[in-house]
């Protein structure tokens, strides 16, 4: 298998981050891990956006992934991180395969609203589940990975980052290929012109369905990693404003490159860390204003800044 330039850069960045993290303060490592986990969910939003769909309900899969980790540890006695993540993916794929049958028939605001409705159903169920801590949620068990127990504290944070990096790298490498593959291009083709896609002999429904299920699975991984990192899950993971944040990050980064959601998620997480402390009542306003500015002046997201610069330089 020959590696192309983007793939080499992705691997290079992942290795560099892993090394730098060994010398970084704990809070930064923690923030970075959360950003990577968030970026994974956003990748799912981006996959849907490339097919012309905007989901205001990706929090559903984020929450499923998170609760799979929490419940798997609490009721099934699973502590291995990879098995917990896998459990989340399994549950999410099963659920998204059912939901996908319905939602892939919809476009535009109907898709947005329907996906929102499904995530709110999960939210409603979890809020009323008193055994699961209701609105407070509950703590996640101390996890292990392949027999090694990082424990809580600094070693735990660092182990979580390494795990997140490896998983994120694998997913980014996959998506980088996926976006250039037949199926990835078929998604963009559906966004551009559905009539032509059908006349080409391609089933829109099948393409969107596969894309939806993969996006859901990746979102679940993001949720699982967030739960492992933060050590806690609660129903707001499925609340629609969280899904709105994922849409925000996707638009901030743009859909042009697999790296864009990671950069956007990092900016988002860092700014939020400070904003919530310095101006807790202005954080959403900042989000709203930035969102409007991006739509008005940078419709392809911040990633277009990089490509534009490269074009003028060459």
């Amino acid at each position: 298998m020959k590696l192309e330039r983007t793939e080499l850069s992705l691997i290079g960045v992942a290795v560099a981050v892993a090394i730098l993290a060994q010398f970084s303060p704990n809070w930064l490592v923690f923030t970075l891990t959360l950003a990577i986990s968030t970026a994974l969910v956003v990748m799912g939003v981006v996959m849907l956006m490339r097919a012309g769909l905007v989901s205001f309900g990706q929090g559903l899969f984020y929450c499923l992934g998170g609760y799979a980790v929490g419940l798997g540890g609490r009721f099934l006695g699973i502590t291995d991180a990879l098995m917990l993540v896998g459990l989340g993916v399994g549950v999410t794929v099963a659920i998204s395969m059912v939901l996908g049958l319905l939602v892939t028939r919809y476009r535009e605001i109907f898709f947005a609203m329907l996906s929102l409705a499904f995530s709110m159903i999960l939210y409603g169920v979890l809020v009323k589940s008193h055994d699961l801590g209701s609105t407070d949620g509950f703590g996640v068990v101390d996890w292990s990975i392949l027999g090694y127990q990082p424990g809580t504290g600094e070693s735990g944070t660092r182990a979580a980052l390494l795990l997140a990096l490896v998983i994120a790298l694998a997913i980014a490498l996959f998506l980088n290929r996926y976006f250039k593959s037949s199926l990835g291009l078929a998604c963009e083709a559906i966004r551009e012109n559905e009539v032509r896609v059908e006349y080409m002999g391609i089933s829109r429904q099948q393409v969107l369905y596969i894309n939806y299920v993969i996006a859901a699975a990746i979102g679940s991984v993001g949720g699982s990693m967030t739960a492992l990192t933060a050590g806690h899950v609660d129903p707001t993971m499925a609340y629609w404003t969280i899904s709105g944040e994922f849409v925000f990050i996707a638009i901030l980064g743009g859909t042009g490159h697999v790296a864009a959601p990671f950069i956007a998620a990092l900016i988002f997480t860092l700014v939020r860390t400070y904003a919530v402390e310095l101006a807790p009542n202005a954080w959403q306003m900042i989000l709203g204003i930035v969102l409007l500015l991006i739509i008005l002046f940078l419709p392809k997201g911040i990633w277009s800044l990089f490509t534009r610069k490269r074009r003028t330089a060459s």
Partner: protein, 258 residues
């Protein structure tokens, strides 16, 4: 000669409006058939019904001897029946080469591949080949939005041909194209069609083009086929002259006739 397309009693009503009524035609393999008629005569309705975009109100359609009524565009394309569009249906924000690459991937039944790039060397070569045949190679790496109307028409037809059809329905291939370009465009298309040995049915308003490229003509008026026969005979017909080609001013082309 084997028949390739046969319709019997094909009709379509939109409420009280008759868009097409009792269309009975048989087309044999290798024929190049022209369809004429004023706007609203039912030509596009006919094409939409035959290619599965619009369900007929009544009647039957057979392609290659098998009934195809009720099949959608996707299944019909797989059977070898496809079309081009009066308004080209393209992926505007994608490069021309990708418009073709995805069509080729689908023709190979490889539209669900996730890891192999869509731009394989073989597909690129095939795409370059058809771009050359259509004389639009210069737009290869441009977005479709950068193409003029005539080039878009050609790309639209090229994409249809990449599905390896047996029969191609062209909906007004020269509409929206300037007078000077019309003949070059049709020459290009017809050459590609003949090279592939396709059966073609095309809608056209320009009678000179009809006379030049087809052997048989179907004349539509008010949703009904009023005349079907060799080109000279149909164009000389009194009723056709009155209702279709008539000694009236040439109608300005408007968008579509549903």
């Amino acid at each position: 000669m084997t028949e390739i397309l046969k319709t019997e009693g094909l009709s379509r009503y939109f409420g009280a409006v008759t868009a097409a009524e009792d269309i009975n035609i048989t087309i044999t393999e290798g024929e190049i058939v022209g369809v004429i008629g004023s706007n609203g005569a039912g030509k596009t309705t006919f094409i939409n019904m035959v290619t599965g975009y619009l369900p007929p109100s009544s009647g039957t359609i057979a392609f290659g001897g098998a009934p195809i009524k009720g099949l959608g565009p996707r299944k019909l394309m797989r059977k070898g029946l496809t079309r081009s569009f009066q308004i080209p249906q393209l992926f505007l924000e994608l490069p021309v080469i990708d418009n073709l690459a995805i069509a080729l991937a689908s023709a190979e039944h490889n539209q669900f591949q996730m890891l192999r790039p869509v731009r394989t060397p073989r597909r690129l070569a095939a795409a370059d080949n058809i771009l050359e045949q259509m004389n639009i190679s210069q737009y290869r790496d441009e977005m479709v939005t950068a193409m003029p109307q005539g080039a878009r028409k050609l790309l639209d037809i090229a994409i249809a041909m990449l599905g390896n059809p047996k029969m191609l329905l062209l909906d007004e291939p020269t509409s929206g194209v300037s007078m000077e370009e019309k003949y070059t465009l049709m020459d290009t298309v017809m050459e590609a069609v003949k090279r592939r040995g396709l059966t073609v049915l095309f809608v056209e308003h320009d009678m000179e083009i009809v006379q030049r490229y087809v052997t048989r003509v179907l004349a539509f008026a008010s949703g009904v086929v009023i005349k079907d026969g060799p080109v000279d005979e149909v164009l000389a017909d009194k009723q056709v002259q009155e209702l279709v080609t008539g000694k009236r001013k040439k109608q300005p082309e408007t968008e579509g006739d549903a």
